[in-house]
Symmetry: C2
Subunit: 666 residues, 2 copies
């Protein structure tokens, strides 16, 4: 008995290699979202010179039947096919290929010259048609049998050859290939399909306790409703709340992260748990579970979703500490091991001990936290520091949750080394925090975005760009003033389809660090209720609103995969293009990276790839100001000014009417 | 029950990704040879900040026990380890990693500042040492227990800390890590290890029937023995013979590939089989099987091996045609389908019909052909057109043969599209023909060699460079005269560790094509007995001999993986460096690609990577002429002349003595 790697019959001659896309050779699924296609390629060939049939096969995980679509040869043995991922959940895909005897025969017949050869070849063709007839039924079977007979008839060779080479014969034969010796690729790959908001979302982070404009009274969910209309009008579709659970008392942090809280200090929302409950409870000062649900409903009524922050760590007062002492690591003196990074200590937080013998019960309980909030209507979770919990835990948890609730989205808040951030995305996180906050120069931005969109990272990692967070106030914003905030907002919102801001602080351009050289905010909202005068005249509200509405109107900005950077002869200006799949929408971003000075330079656009006629002017419509510019040829002059237009978001209109467009011109 | 991808316990926190090298994620083995190492890298990390232990594990396929060697962190979560592949056959390798509690603890202890913390940490350390003691035995167990006790003793904190941080403790603890929760990479990869000649070989192709110098009498194996000493003296170690089997009579080709042979025409050796036998027989005109064995023995006595050409195709007179009619495809008129590429026909050859229902018997018979010649002492096979037979067949055949005879080498003679040539190498061919013959300009050579040596191709494809073959007389040689032959010989022999020439024609610079624009030789030896006056004065014998002896003396030229091209400001000059693994041998090749004119230019060497002191001169010793040049700094002038030195093969001597090297200087 002959044993052969991968195949069952030594006559399976087609070879299939290097099916893409895939993540780690199929260990993890590729990511796509509704409205997209899965475009697959494979290297397919056989020995000799025979022609091949190649199909891309796919099925939704909940469907038993495979569908298929033909793949087309691209040259050099590479083939491409595509299918629309029109249902959320997991899909499987693979490739099948076979030697296509009829196509080979037809091609050879067309090159034969001698009458003897042709006559003999027609007999071979008749055999192939009879075999195909036996695989067909009804009308097709009759037609194929009839052609086989005609090819054998005693009629003129030219007529029989013409019939044999006809399109009708080719089309019918193509329906009944002999696939008994077809080869199937040795792996099936997976694509996880999310709803559209996984690909395109606009986040607004808000501490609910500081939600009363112009007041430092502790706000409630009911108070928060008051801000919803305004945030929705700005074009955000996800309201993200830091943890809303009871906050511990033991070792509570004071304002500006001081070690001892003053009476009345509210503590950090990340010190989760008190006698009032843990991860499934709502902080009494914010209201009841019912009022939270009301808040979620109100947001939904305005087209927004609420995202919750899930931080798996406990204050010493968390009910878990008493109920499940085995979930916390003990020190030799019997005390619980608090979080630390020697010599630093975080006595207000106990990390969960994932190496506990009781890990299975722990995992199930943590999963139930997500299930609890899903029941309350939450479908988006921002996970705090997932990289400090085992990767296997997240892979299991996300897989489990999404099996029941494939519409749930997970954002990984990890600022760690690249391999760690990528692993979290591979194992299932829908979106990911990034290094964007620290990428400010043109080289840094170009290099980073190229890594995210031009390497295999694009298949599994969906960046979510944040110009600020409650933890990160970058120097660029500290020193750059209002133009810096505009620059970073335009970059985040047009370079990434998913972006977010730590809202009130960004609108009001809050930029005082706790101390010189620090990236922390002075009077950080993490440790106190803040008063936000969101109605102030200098608010960026209108600018943010404008940008978000441009995003809503332009599919080019609702995806990450089509992005290219264009040369500008001034390092302080960055220029890039984005477009939707069928290139009906092209956006050109032009941003001044210098928040202090006017910058100008010559931009060079690749007319050919943008499909612009080099002999015609084209129109650049600035969606930020409404201004329209006529550009001509590849190189055009631009000028950006912190005191005026710090950025352009151009809609490129390829065709400008001229007199030649009118009938009378001809 | 919690089910987790890849791991058995949710507490296995280490993650291992992207183990390299591998070919198609382990579908095929990597190739190495005796004298080399397998240097593996993997991305390894865990949640949080704990330290890791990482080992590379490996075993020969015929050994049950795994060996292991520690991997070292390279930064950014990448780890590297290596093992010597000191036995031919297949090896397996993978990676295991675990969270190293002791190393983490030790690092944290070194950063603790408060006495309370340190005291508590020492107790934790004592626990770790006791656990390690339980895994140890004898002296080590006692020592570890003793240290645990000492750490708990009522002695000065400083003394106990010093003990805890001592090298003795660290070294002993490192021997007994707690690996119960270790993670093993989810795949095992394979490396096939060949004997050295797979990596470094020098081929001489010879038609045995034309082996009598200065005569056109049909030669025999006994006659061929007469040329062996001379070929060995030129430095070749493989004599490759085109098929030595009986040649068919039916439709035998005449001289210069004419359709009708004249009486006495010997026919093409590739039209295999007659009443005298098939693939296991020797052409009666060449002698007996015994004389063939004698020839093999004589070659071996001179340090050379005989390589046979295996071409699986049959003359109409081959015994298989009668004995196994089902192995040949029939046409509708009952005749056997001869080889064709419409409208071209090759009536002297019947291809084997691999889609026969009797394919298993066919495969076994073809395998027995190799076994037969292995029994006659042949361990090297050049396989003719393997890409016109099913890939699965070769994968099975080579695997089967090498299971019994891991010393056997297979050279794939395929000139086909890249994916096809690479597939043959992946599935098991030891060495491969290449596009080298058609790569003549600097851009072409640089680009092609970069693909072969700088991409994953390097892991499985061993190029064998042929400046000519009986089928290919490139235009460069037709028009380039003697300097062209020198240039191409130096390039083939120094760019690839495996190279070969179609011997007599190359020595004598045979360069007449059959017709203008053809790549075929006039009066090709394929169709007639040729008279070779190998003793002629203009023979390249001495030059070839010189080059081959340089190859023998220099390990840098006995490998393909370390190669870099260096800039020269003249496109007609190519410059490159090769070095052995420990960089004790560095060769710089400098070749004039213009066979007509003198060319000069400035070469730029990367002094830093070559470890050359930029303040000292260094010596370039031309191994072709013996001349020595003192070079200085990165840029140096070179001049190459078709009438003189058309190439340099420099041995780089990094250090030239100066007066400062003598003691009296100080």
């Amino acid at each position: 008995m002959i044993m052969i790697a991968d195949i069952s019959d030594g006559r399976q001659r087609a070879v299939i290699e290097n099916l893409t896309p895939n993540v780690d050779a199929g260990r993890f699924p590729v990511k796509r979202s509704l409205g997209e296609q899965l475009v697959a390629e494979a290297t397919v060939f056989a020995d000799g010179h025979d022609h091949l049939g190649v199909v891309l096969q796919y099925r939704h995980a909940e469907t038993a039947d495979w569908q298929e679509t033909p793949m087309q040869a691209l040259g050099n043995d590479r083939w491409r096919g595509a299918f629309a991922v029109d249902r959320i959940g997991t899909w499987h895909y693979t490739v099948t290929a076979w030697v296509d005897d009829f196509s080979t025969w037809r091609y050879e017949l067309s090159r034969r010259e001698q009458a003897d050869d042709i006559a003999l070849a027609l007999l071979s063709g008749a055999e192939l048609m009879e075999q195909a007839a036996s695989r067909a039924a009804g009308e097709h079977r009759d037609r194929l049998s009839g052609w086989a007979t005609a090819l054998r008839a005693d009629t003129a060779l030219e007529d029989r050859t013409a019939l044999a080479l006809s399109d009708a014969v080719a089309d019918t034969m193509a329906r009944y290939p002999d696939r008994r010796l077809a080869t199937r690729y040795f792996r099936e790959y997976r694509v996880v399909v999310d709803r559209e908001r996984a690909r395109f979302s606009t986040w607004y982070e808000l501490f609910p306790r500081s939600c009363i404009p112009g007041s430092d009274t502790h706000g409630t969910f009911d108070d928060c409703k008051g801000r919803l209309a305004e945030i929705a009008a700005m074009g955000f579709d996800i309201i993200y709340l830091p943890p809303i659970h009871p906050i511990g008392h033991t070792n509570r942090k004071g304002r500006n992260n001081t070690l001892v809280a003053e009476p009345g200090d509210p503590g950090s929302p990340w010190a989760i748990g008190s006698e009032a409950g843990g991860h499934k409870a709502v902080h009494p000062d914010l209201g009841s579970l019912e009022s939270f649900r009301g808040f979620v409903d109100s947001a939904r009524g305005l087209g927004m979703e609420v995202a919750l922050d899930i931080a798996f760590q406990c204050s010493p007062d968390h009910p878990y500490v008493k109920e499940h002492p085995q979930w916390f690591r003990r020190r030799p003196d019997g005390s619980v091991q608090y979080a630390e990074n020697p010599p630093k200590k975080y006595q207000d937080i106990y990390p969960i001990y994932f190496e506990t013998d009781d890990w299975q019960a722990l995992w199930e309980e943590l999963k139930s936290v997500f299930e609890f909030w899903i029941e309350q209507g939450v479908l988006v979770f921002r996970v705090d520091n997932p990289h400090t919990k085992p990767f296997a835990f997240w892979e299991w948890l996300i897989t489990e949750i999404r099996q029941q609730h494939p519409e749930v989205l997970f954002l990984a808040e990890a600022f760690a080394r690249p391999s760690i951030m990528y692993r979290l995305a591979k194992l299932g996180f829908t979106q990911s925090y990034t290094y964007f906050t620290w990428r400010n120069t043109r080289w840094e931005i170009t290099h980073y975005l190229s890594e995210l969109t031009r390497t295999e990272v694009r298949e599994f990692f969906r960046p979510n760009f944040w110009p600020n967070t409650p933890d990160i106030l970058h120097e660029y914003l500290q020193f750059g003033s209002r133009p810096a905030f505009m620059t970073r907002l335009v970059l985040a919102s047009t370079l990434a389809a998913n972006y977010g801001i730590y809202g009130p602080a960004y609108e009001l351009q809050e930029r005082e660090p706790r101390e010189f050289g620090s990236e922390e905010y002075l009077n950080s909202e993490k440790y106190e209720v803040r008063r936000w005068d969101t109605g102030r005249a200098e608010s960026l509200r209108d600018f943010i609103s404008r940008v978000n509405h441009i995003r809503r109107d332009h599919p080019a900005l609702q995806q990450d995969l089509n992005l290219e950077f264009y040369p500008v002869d001034n390092e302080q200006i960055i220029c890039y293009g984005k477009w939707n799949e069928d290139r009906t929408d092209i956006i050109i971003g032009l941003v001044n990276l210098d928040p202090y000075h006017r910058q100008s330079g010559w931009v060079e656009l690749p007319l050919e790839t943008l499909d612009i006629d080099s002999h015609h002017p084209y129109q650049m419509h600035d969606l930020l100001t409404g201004a329209r510019y006529l550009w001509n040829g590849a190189r055009n002059y631009v000028e950006l000014d912190p005191q005026g237009a710090q950025a352009h978001i151009f809609h490129l209109l390829r065709r400008v009417r001229t007199e030649r467009d009118f009938e009378y011109f001809f």
